[in-house]
Symmetry: C2
Subunit: 199 residues, 2 copies
């Protein structure tokens, strides 16, 4: 459907590679971009390209960074005894938005998924283990997603690092705040019951 | 919410200017772009920028074009006696997809909208009038949208050009093919009745 020779078609084709942008909305966006002032398109294109060029991974935690070591790992006010392990940089952003966690992060860049051929060596588990040789780290909080792969990854890591004498915890699974019990699925409800706390 | 100093925030900020992309999806896209291979981001950015630079307006019909005169206006196989008047280039693409219309186009780049201060001199009406000095043009089909502004624009143009001795027609308004009468609004239904044809 998309013609290769016309610039609008090419723009649409490139945009359609992005998640959540189908052929139709890509075409609609491409027409919009075609009528945008050149200066604005230049600014968009340069944000994309220069932005992407500027982004690398923090050599310590694996989060996106513009330097060799990211702002969080460099920040001396962060509590360096806690490491929160997440699947990807977006999860770091989500937890940072909470403004509550003051420790450090470790980004795995994936979860174990034997079905997709992703094993322990394909995600940043080795790097986590080597960070634990630093005695100042006392707790590892496993914040992978509460789905099958996230749970499997958390379980795998817990077994691996517990013998290293570090406290290993897992974020609580339960009913979301503000939700209605009636609509909670059984597994979530069971986890919420299991994780109940005395008041 | 968006931080100016970080590349991901800048990408998100630029993307959020596009229609239909809110702050949240812009952020999600920006994270996706941050993890895309550099080569793909370069290809996206260059499609945007080089695409936009390549696009100008056909000096005859006003449609997007890469040349001074667009492919449709240049095509000798098109029937040059009919001009279909539309609001913007997207409408040309929609009608072309139908593969049924063999005439030429005229893109107004807007509709009359006194509320928004858009008068006859702000859209390409003068250019349409001057095209009509060519005697080969026998029919002008007004294909502006069937909404208040589109109707007003069609009425205005019809009054202006009818005295020039050209047939002026308006696309039919009626019930969409495949739709259910029960759900048609009254105005559409009234137009469909009014426009009925003997079988």
């Amino acid at each position: 459907m998309v013609m290769m020779n016309d610039p609008i078609g090419r723009i649409a084709q490139e945009l359609a590679r992005l998640p959540g942008i189908g052929q139709k909305s890509a075409m609609r966006l491409a027409y919009f971009i075609a009528s945008m002032p050149e200066e604005q398109v230049r600014s968009l294109a340069s944000a994309l390209w220069n932005g992407r060029k500027a982004i690398r991974y923090c050599s310590i935690c694996g989060n996106f960074s513009t330097d060799d070591v990211c702002d969080i790992c460099q920040n001396e006010n962060r509590h360096n005894g806690q490491i929160c392990v997440v699947r990807d940089p977006r999860d770091v952003a989500a937890i940072e938005r909470m403004r509550d966690f003051k420790g450090l992060y470790h980004v795995l860049h994936g979860t174990l998924s034997p079905m997709n051929g992703i094993g322990p060596d394909d995600i940043r588990i080795k790097e986590l283990v080597s960070r634990l040789s630093d005695d100042s780290i006392t707790e590892v909080i496993l914040c992978t997603n509460p789905d099958i792969e996230g749970e499997a990854t958390a379980t795998y890591i817990a077994r691996l690092i517990k013998p290293m004498g570090v406290t290993v915890s897992r974020i609580a699974r339960g009913v979301p705040v503000g939700s209605d019990l009636e609509y909670a699925d059984e597994v979530t409800l069971a986890k919420a019951m299991e994780g109940r706390r005395e008041m």
